[in-house]
Amino acid sequence: MAGLHKSEIKNPVLNWIDSRLPIITLMQKEYGAFPTPKNFNYWWNFGALAMVILGIMVVTGIFLAMNYTPHKDMAFDSVERIMRDVNFGWLLRYAHANGASMFFIVVYVHMFRGLYYGSYKAPRELLWMLGVVLLLLMMATAFMGYVLPWGQMSYWGATVITNLFSAIPLVGDSVVTWLWGGFSVDNPTLNRFFSLHYLLPFVILGMVFLHVVALHITGSNNPLGIDVKSPQDTLPFHPYYTVKDSVGICLFFVVYAIIVFFFPDLFGDPDNYIPANPLQTPADIVPEWYFLPFYAILRSIPNKLGGVTMMFGAIAVLFVLPWLDLSPVRSARFRPIYKWVFWLLPISCVVLGVVGAHKPEDPWLTIGRLATLYYFAHFLVLLPLIGKFERPLPLPESISQPVLGGGGPLPASAVTKPMEKP
């Protein structure tokens, strides 16, 4: 029959479905047989882990929304009711709140993996940029989610961050009034944040789909950073990486369970157990830990617009990363200088995080300024320079070659293989 997909499925019912909507064939191709580099290490688990956490967040969020009331007079109490009266409500709430922290830990590791192994380089530039969009969506979602319990930190964090937009010249104040739906963070703000907080995760879901499609067009990178040369360099995704990812997921669940069941308020701010009071600012307004580095960058700059610009700039610089790094070699394994310089970036991010948790006074203010300087210098100065002047190590011929051998040591007259064209 014209128009039907020619399905290979044996089972007649599944064949009927698959020939009209080939999702089974699709799943078999993209997650079953998909040729995946065979030399993945555990740093490659974190993308799949992020997808699992997204699922956990959506499911716990939907069940929480059955009991949450997005009105300023009832929001705080509705969360307390969830904690005390709803069956397993305490578990839903703690799983959701701590799931957000786990989501950011996993995604930050996932990003650092990309930075170390050059996964952002051609032909994966768009894949990387989609990832940065995903990070932005996550940050917006998390920010709005934190406002919903309507505690002191919810309210004042919302006030500080929405006020940032007043830095925009000319239209800043109108933008802030528009965001608030009023003249301060108030009920209209809470209500619309609830709507958007429910919406954005599904936007994220759509973006993740695009992110995976882009990945499947180019194929995955690998720890050696070299292209797959033949099917011999690959393994089918199932069962090799479904099982390896399952191991990672189990380990993740152990850590997650320890936090949710034994240290559920570890990442939280005690001030958020105080109902929001618009007439009393807490002594220290601090965002959740995953925003601390950006908060530190914001407060390093003494100028309001400058601080806002630099904070958004910290993400903007990630967007253009594929064009900042001039090295023709992807993986840090073969980049003797970058291999060490790389680590200064996560270190500076941690320093910025610690700075963000403190009041913007010395010595933290100075440390924060230096770390901010390093952060931008790493991307804008070091990456281009190191990329240009570094002498990379010779790359192996293929992924299989170091394992399957290929004739012993090279003769002295042999020339190292030319660099792979990106």
Partner: protein, 190 residues
């Protein structure tokens, strides 16, 4: 020497002559563990939709019987439902007790539907067991049907002075909620 195994066990997917392998065992254990895991995750989600502690706490209500003279009835509210509390006259009690079980669509003796020593009080859920309308009959001016109890205007079901269905299409008697006498003039429902 007797055979300890008369036939080798064949696992699904294996042909004759191929034994159950370690792989089959591992697959079974893994799938079972995963199924238990899925159940452990699914149960809290599903149970969170069951009535919460505060809903369950609101599930008892006290009714003062003192203002209800014989022959009158009131409607109380319990768990969001109307509850008919009728102070039966001796004639009504006798009419209820005289009915033989064979005459009933949903047989139940009157004694099983009231509390011993308090048979002048009938407490039933005021929702027709057909499709859920509230039957008429609490007010003396209401139609009470042919059996002196209640009449449902939606489809014509009729109940007697013990709240039992005597004329359909309702299939069952008006249910008696759990209640107890705290004193002669006060009951607690639920």
């Amino acid at each position: 020497m007797a055979d300890t195994m008369s036939a080798t066990t064949h696992a699904p997917g294996h042909g004759p002559g191929q034994d159950v392998t370690k792989r089959d065992f591992l697959t079974l254990v893994t799938v079972s563990a995963a199924a238990i895991g899925v159940g452990a995750i699914a149960w809290p989600l599903i149970d969170s939709m069951n009535p919460s502690a505060d809903v369950l706490a609101l599930s008892s209500v006290e009714v003062d019987l003192a203002p209800i003279p014989a022959g009158q009835a009131i409607t109380a509210v319990w768990r969001g439902k109307p509850i008919f509390v009728r102070h039966r006259t001796p004639d009504e009690i006798k009419a209820a007790e005289d009915v033989t079980l064979k005459q009933l669509i949903d047989p139940a003796p009157d004694s099983a539907r009231v509390k011993a020593g308090h048979d002048q009080w009938l407490v039933v859920v005021g929702i027709c067991t057909h499709l859920g309308c509230i039957p008429l009959g609490n007010k003396p001016t209401d139609p009470r049907g042919d059996f002196g109890g209640w009449f449902c205007p939606c489809h014509g079901s009729q109940y007697d002075t013990s709240g039992r269905v005597r004329h359909g299409p309702a299939p069952a008697n008006l249910p008696v909620p759990p209640y107890a006498f705290e004193s002669d003039t006060k009951i607690k429902i639920g």
